[in-house]
């Protein structure tokens, strides 16, 4: 056996869950040195989370399954000790941060780890104070974790692990459910940790824009490592990323399409702007005007107003004002994105459209009639609402039964129901899955079943809350292509999302909510031109939009930029 003296050393690791269909990990070899920052990427189901659980001995000690090979933590095999012993070396923060928090206030949450290791009270107080300072939660000691925002919860989950003072920190998709500035906050903390204290950092991440500071990127596919190279090299390998269901950096892809050599590809918008000018490229104003003209043309084709919001205010029973003075009109055939920070009120707003909530002041009219007079059941015929987590609604044994729930409960005949189920499954690309068990599908598959089950009622308007969360890039694309097809077939679409490139490439119009008020409302192009206002609302446009803005012309996708660019 060779030298296993790095921070983490993985040798020929294989893993098969008990009852699992195949290997979750196959023959994985990985060496991570002290102080390195390694990002692990790859499609859903590639074994990324499984790999994390092997780092602190949850595999093989806690999870049931068969392990091959070895994992060494600073020279010691995980087979030789309990999870608790390795917990002091390897801190593991799980993807689902809600499920990890259990204490009644922030300080107690942080203290839980040190308590297990019999840290005395004085030292514990020092650690709580220090760690909360590092994750910028000073002053929150007495708050109940459940009352924190998503970003704060994630930072607390990190703090609770940091308090054990591990030398190696492993974060499993720490930013999936966060708004763009929340994501940035988490990565700034990660970067500071590494620079200040020589902590080794392993991060599983879907979003390429967040991996720019990494030393190395490891790509897993079907349980095997297909790439393990310096980050900037991997980021320039656009084809490899696309094959691995990872979104390539937009600026990099743009310049690749423009024929720039791989070694010279820029990564960030700033580098992009410099490279663009250096090569003498320019934006053709005529072609950019055509893009704007196309937006305007589309704007003229919408039908009559379906949803009208007038001076809406919503106050929760506990007195919290969630919305104030909101005016908004949604016309037939539109594709609207509602944006805003966690807790800005965007979900509260869309819940008014289908009668889950009613205005405490002002008016919400659907089809010209007040929602309060129609009620949730009647509104449900016109307004379909797909919740963020498909597991919060799926309950049937078969896909067909699940999709039939809506039509049946509304008293439709069997023949009619069958036809609608078939139609809805066809619309989401799941024909032939009728008899499958929905719980056996992937997250993307379950998401589609949830969409189909709402479509089966044939609503005019479809509201989707975070339709791409927890999906990999390929799944996100196919989900959003589906939504676009539905829109083109006549459905009015409203999405609530944090994923900015999805807004840029798919939505027509965007409304930005900040502290319960609409601060921007216009075509996506108009909204994304206002980078300052977006930043105040904790939002950040995608890289390609920033690049375009810096060049004085707002574009929404790599394809648009290519169309508008003139070479030399």
């Amino acid at each position: 056996m060779g030298d296993a003296s790095g921070a983490l050393s993985v040798r020929g690791l294989g893993y098969r869950y008990r009852g699992g269909k195949g290997h979750a990990l196959k023959n994985v070899d990985l060496e991570i040195g002290e102080g390195e920052f390694v990002v692990v990427m790859g499609p859903s189901g590639a074994g990324k989370s499984t790999l994390c659980t092997a780092f602190n001995g949850l595999i093989p000690h806690f999870l049931r399954g068969r392990m091959e090979g070895d994992v060494f933590v600073r020279g010691r095999s995980t087979r030789e000790g309990k999870v608790g012993e390795f917990a002091q070396e390897v801190g593991l923060v799980f993807q689902d941060f809600e499920a990890q928090l259990f204490s009644t206030n922030v300080a107690l949450e942080v203290a839980f780890g040190p308590e297990n290791f019999r840290v005395d009270h004085e030292e514990m107080e020092r650690r709580v104070e220090g760690v909360l300072g590092r994750v910028r939660l000073t002053g929150f000691e007495g708050r109940e974790p459940a009352t924190l925002s998503g970003g704060q919860k994630q930072r607390l989950a990190i703090a609770s692990v940091l308090a054990i003072e591990p030398r190696i920190l492993c974060l499993d998709e720490p930013t999936t459910d966060l708004d763009p500035l929340g994501k940035l906050g988490v990565f700034q903390i990660a970067e500071e940790l590494r620079q200040r204290e020589d902590v080794t950092l392993v991060v599983v991440e879907h979003e390429t824009e967040e991996t720019l500071d990494a030393d190395r990127i490891v790509i897993l596919r079907e349980g095997e490592i297909v790439a393990d190279r310096p980050a900037h090299e991997v980021l320039r390998d656009v084809d490899l990323l696309e094959e691995s269901s990872v979104m390539p950096l937009q600026v990099t892809r743009l310049f690749k399409e423009l024929g720039v050599e791989r070694e010279e590809l820029p990564l960030t918008p700033q580098e992009g702007v410099e490279e663009f000018r250096r090569r003498g490229f320019s934006v053709n104003p005529e072609r950019h005007r055509e893009l704007i003209a196309a937006d305007e043309e589309r704007g003229r084709e919408y039908g009559e107003p379906v949803i009208e919001v007038e001076d809406l205010a919503h106050r929760y029973p506990n007195g919290v004002v969630a919305l104030e003075g909101v005016d908004l009109t949604v016309r037939r055939g539109e594709f609207l994105a509602v944006l805003g920070q966690n807790g800005s009120g965007k979900t509260t707003l869309v819940k008014h459209f289908n009668g889950l909530l009613y205005p405490t002041e002002g008016h919400v009219r659907v089809g010209g009639e007040e929602t309060g007079k129609q009620g949730i059941r009647k509104l449900g015929q016109r307004i379909g609402y797909v919740f963020q987590n498909p597991d919060h609604q799926i309950f049937s044994d078969t896909v067909a039964d699940e999709v039939a729930f809506g039509p049946k409960i509304r008293g439709m005949e069997d023949d009619e129901t069958k036809e609608r189920v078939a139609e809805a499954l066809r619309a989401v690309g799941m024909e032939g899955y009728d008899e499958e068990d929905p719980f056996g599908l992937t997250k993307g598959g379950r998401q589609r079943v949830a969409v189909a089950s709402v479509l089966a009622v044939r609503p005019e308007v479809l509201i989707l809350d975070e339709p791409t969360t927890g999906l990999d890039y390929a799944e996100q694309r196919s989900m959003m292509d589906l939504v676009r097809r539905l829109n083109e077939a006549g459905s009015t679409i409203i999405i609530v999302t944090h994923t900015m490139w999805v807004v840029a490439e798919y939505a027509h119009r965007a409304a930005v909510i900040r502290q319960g008020r609409v601060v921007l409302n216009g075509t996506v192009r108009e909204v994304f031109a206002e980078e300052e206002v977006l930043r105040d609302a904790s939002l950040r446009p995608p890289h390609i939009v920033s690049l375009g803005n810096s060049l004085g012309h707002t574009v929404l996708s790599v394809e648009e930029m290519l169309r508008a660019t003139e070479e030399g």
Partner: protein
């Protein structure tokens, strides 16, 4: 929607040692179960409410009043029908049966409210430490406090799920009892599955933070039995003794009631 009953207020009841609070809760249960007469039970209920007032915790009544009313109404009706006594009142209901029903209703509500005051003034962590200080193994103590935590978490998940299913047309308000129970299936299955899933993550997170790494552990939360605790305990024990003596002497019963 606030997820748990605990109210972070700085009253002297909040500051009591968790062991004292547990003893008070048990004592209240004993008091509530001693008497049969509605008048005596009403006094016990008032005592519980007085504690709740001192602990500034009565605002939580707003969250459980519906359960209290349902329990009271059902208990009174059932005992009036099924109990029997000597003095006919109307139809087949006897005076003693009605009074007994009222006693039991007051008794159950008093114990529920006592539990509410306890949870409003005691953190889950305090429950765990209290039990450990009473020489109960930490793993068991932690399980108890985790169970307490699970209730509000499941309730919150259930709320989201009911929103999702109502959006799909589920109508929980109409139909007879059996139809209604069947309608809850679309809620129960996702609640169950989500809970199992998050419990699994939760237990992995515990392991990863060194839960059970060593047989002993330290506590961030400091507790000690102080002078205030001793005074409260002495006064309360005296109260218990007096009440039990009263009951033995024949007060607080209910003449003429038979099951």
């Amino acid at each position: 929607m606030a997820p748990s009953l605990y109210l972070d207020r700085d009253t002297w009841i909040h500051r009591l040692d968790p062991r004292t609070k547990m003893f008070l809760l048990l004592g209240m249960f004993v008091l509530a179960f001693v008497f049969l007469s509605p008048v005596y039970e009403a006094v016990i209920l008032l005592l519980v409410l007085f504690f709740g007032y001192l602990a500034r915790s009565l605002s939580n009544l707003l969250r459980i009043w519906f359960i209290l009313v349902v329990i009271a109404v059902f208990t009174i009706i059932l005992w009036s029908i099924f109990g029997s006594g000597r003095t006919p009142l109307f139809l087949f209901v006897e005076r003693e049966a009605l009074l007994y029903g009222i006693s039991i209703a007051l008794r159950i509500d008093a114990t529920v409210i006592a539990g509410m005051v306890f949870l409003s003034t005691t953190r889950n962590e305090e429950v765990a430490i209290g039990l450990v200080r009473l020489s109960i193994p930490y793993r068991f103590a932690f399980a108890v406090s985790t169970a307490l935590r699970l209730v509000p978490t499941v309730a919150a998940t259930g709320f989201t799920i009911s929103e999702a299913q109502r959006s799909r047309g589920l109508d929980l308000e109409s139909g007879n009892l059996i139809q209604r129970i069947r309608k809850y299936l679309p809620l129960l299955v996702p609640v169950f599955i989500s809970t199992v899933r998050s419990t699994n993550v939760f237990s992995m997170a515990l392991e990863s933070k060194g839960f059970g790494a060593s047989a002993k552990r330290t506590f961030y939360f400091q507790t000690s039995i102080g002078r205030r605790d001793v005074v409260v305990l002495v006064v309360f024990v005296a109260l218990l003794v007096v009440t039990l003596a009263l009951r033995v002497a024949g007060y607080g019963g209910l003449e003429g009631f038979t099951r």
